[in-house]
């Protein structure tokens, strides 16, 4: 399967539970410019998404490396959103 014009998005831990979703294939006509833009589009879906994505301490990784809100996106990227980690 080609990743053309799609981004894989992963949601972990409490965020995944709040959304009732752990993974999706995000596909639309235009590419979100950066992480912040993608997050804003997801938050605009409905009140549940807006609430879940409103947390200020939410982390993001692009292609499995921590990424800042201004990190640019490409089709085919794997983007993950998650709360602060609690292993060990």
């Amino acid at each position: 399967m080609s990743n053309a014009n799609a981004i894989t998005i992963l949601y972990f831990a409490s965020l995944g539970d709040a959304l009732g979703l752990s993974e999706e294939r995000f596909s639309q006509a235009s590419l979100p410019a950066d992480v912040a833009s993608l997050r804003a589009q997801l938050a605009a879906r409905d009140a549940k998404w807006a609430a879940a994505l409103s947390s200020t301490n939410l982390r993001c990784a692009v292609n499995q490396s921590l990424a800042k809100p201004e990190h640019p996106l490409c089709w085919g990227d794997e983007v993950a959103f998650f709360p602060p980690v609690t292993g060990g």
């Binding site: 972990f12 831990a13 980690v85 609690t86 292993g87």
Partner: protein
């Protein structure tokens, strides 16, 4: 060596592996266990992780430790999936020529693991919140970079 696994681990066996490195004058090991939580022992404890990113973050932490201290061998094991109170959850073992570097590197690795490696704990139905004290422990090493 870095392993992320559901299975339990054997500290004695891991210690012997670290001992294989002939020049070691010191081995320091840390084992983390699942604490007894929230009274109800029938509640399950669950560990989620981000496969792929977990391994790359752990590799980075171990590389950073190896560049700061003269280490002979490093073992990091972290369990995932369903666990119970009292179970072993994480192992860090470090061998070095001298104890100071072995102690410091072992503490560095577990402190950074707790704030950077993408693992999340769930106690019963409740996801565990990150602790400020864990972040402070990791920050202590990062600010020491300038010394």
């Amino acid at each position: 060596m870095i392993r992320v696994q559901q299975a339990d681990f054997d500290v004695a066996g891991e210690y012997r592996n670290l001992q294989q490195h002939g020049l070691a004058g010191a081995i320091v090991t840390f084992s983390g266990l699942v604490r007894d939580f929230a009274g109800d022992t029938s509640e399950r404890f669950f560990l989620q992780h981000y496969p792929g990113m977990t391994e790359s973050v752990l590799n980075k932490i171990v590389s950073q430790a190896q560049s700061r201290w003269p280490l002979l061998a490093v073992t990091v094991i972290h369990r995932v999936g369903h666990l119970q109170a009292g179970d072993q959850i994480v192992f860090v073992g470090v061998s070095s020529a001298h104890r100071k570097s072995a102690f410091a590197a072992c503490e560095y690795i577990i402190d950074l693991l707790k704030t950077e490696a993408p693992f999340w704990k769930k106690e019963g139905r409740q996801w565990v919140d990150a602790k400020q004290s864990d972040q402070a422990a990791a920050d202590r090493w990062l600010t020491a970079d300038d010394s």
